[in-house]
């Protein structure tokens, strides 16, 4: 095995390997839509965030516009504060409503933003005033059973 043949084969091997890494990054890991640096933050306060996780998508009209960056509990008001990182290209009005929604019946939870008619836009670090908490299935079932029981006692 002479030197040039070895060089050729090693070249093919390294090219294949690097190609595989690029393929994994672009096609499997979707690096093309990987932007973290550009964006601004918005805070949203929720009574209950349900199963919302860090890095969950933030969607407006179904389009992903950002990610949930941080979730913490406000020790004074006992509200959950979710910090959202929104892409710079998207601006939202001051009366935007943030709600926690579920994609499908068993899918992941995400934050939905519905923009209002206000002319003032939210700035970096701004607070979304109107929020709608996650629907907790147990509470829903509890309410339903309570309602049924109350109905039953009325009839008597």
């Amino acid at each position: 095995m002479n030197r040039t043949t070895i060089d050729l084969w090693v070249g093919i091997f390294v090219a294949l390997g690097l190609g595989a890494i690029v393929f994994l990054s672009m096609k499997v890991g979707n690096l093309a839509s990987f932007k973290t640096e550009e964006g601004y933050h918005l805070d949203a306060r929720f009574d209950n965030i349900g199963g919302l996780k860090v890095r969950a998508p933030v969607k407006s009209a179904g389009v992903v516009v950002g990610r949930v960056e941080r979730i913490r509990l406000d020790p004074k008001t006992y509200e959950a504060v979710a910090t959202l990182r929104i892409e710079l290209a998207y601006q939202f009005t001051k009366d935007t409503i943030a709600s926690i929604l579920t994609s499908g019946l068993l899918g992941e939870q995400y934050v939905g933003l519905d923009s209002g008619g206000d002319t003032v836009m939210l700035k970096d670090g701004g607070l979304i005033a109107k929020t709608q908490s996650a629907v907790v299935l147990e509470k829903l079932v509890g309410q339903m059973m309570f309602g049924k029981a109350a109905e039953g006692s009325d009839k008597k």
């Binding site: 030197r3 090693v10 990054s25 890991g29 990987f34």
Partner: protein, 265 residues
Amino acid sequence: MAEIARILRRLGAGAIDGIWRLGYASRFLAMVLLASAMAFRRFSLTMRELYFAGVLSLVIIGVSGLFVGMVLALQGFETLQNFGAAEAVGVLVATSLVKELGPVVAGLLFASRAGSAITAEIGLMKTTEQLSAMEMMAVNPLARVVAPRFWAGVISMPLLAAIFSVMGVFGGWLVAVKLLGVDNGTFWSQMQAQIDFRLGIVNGIIKSFVFGIAITAIAVYEGYDATPTAEGVASATTRTVVESALAVLAIDFVLTVFMFRGTGL
């Protein structure tokens, strides 16, 4: 009483021996790193080892990756179908390959295919006194023989693991899309939506890089440390495969704990 002392003495001897070997291996690795300037200055030496460790492992890595991906897709499809989530088979295949199976299985194959060859080669060089002959000629065998093999292994391993993962994803795609009729677009879009670049791909590459260091370090050490007899080389080769397999699995657990803990993935 004498019996207890005897057992304790054996335990103590084992512990001292183990620690001594670990220290010796670490010192050996440090000396290889110090002597590795030649592996890069005369890169044709490393090139030759890259050919033996990397290029010749391509076939086994590629074929294994293909079959692992195909089996994953087949089995995953059966289970996911029960929950009406057959489209998620792409996510299942790609996640398990990129994060775990790619680096680990490629590492195990690399240890048995290339690691054992490195050990046997260096061990036989020691047995036939080629290493001593080099020292006589004032050639440092660590720089001339060990370092090129070490670096070739460290370079090859991440590339091989990536090729393994890609072949696995391709195999999964073949079975899921072509054979079982999962929608092509859904297969890729679900995969791209679920796999995070830094958490998935980058961590997988870091894993395979660390495995490459561990496997090749064990292989060159066992070869250099082999008893210079036929049996010595044989048992050193066996030890390389066993130790690197254990090292890969143990390191994988530790790395996984640090990489994916608390990320909800």
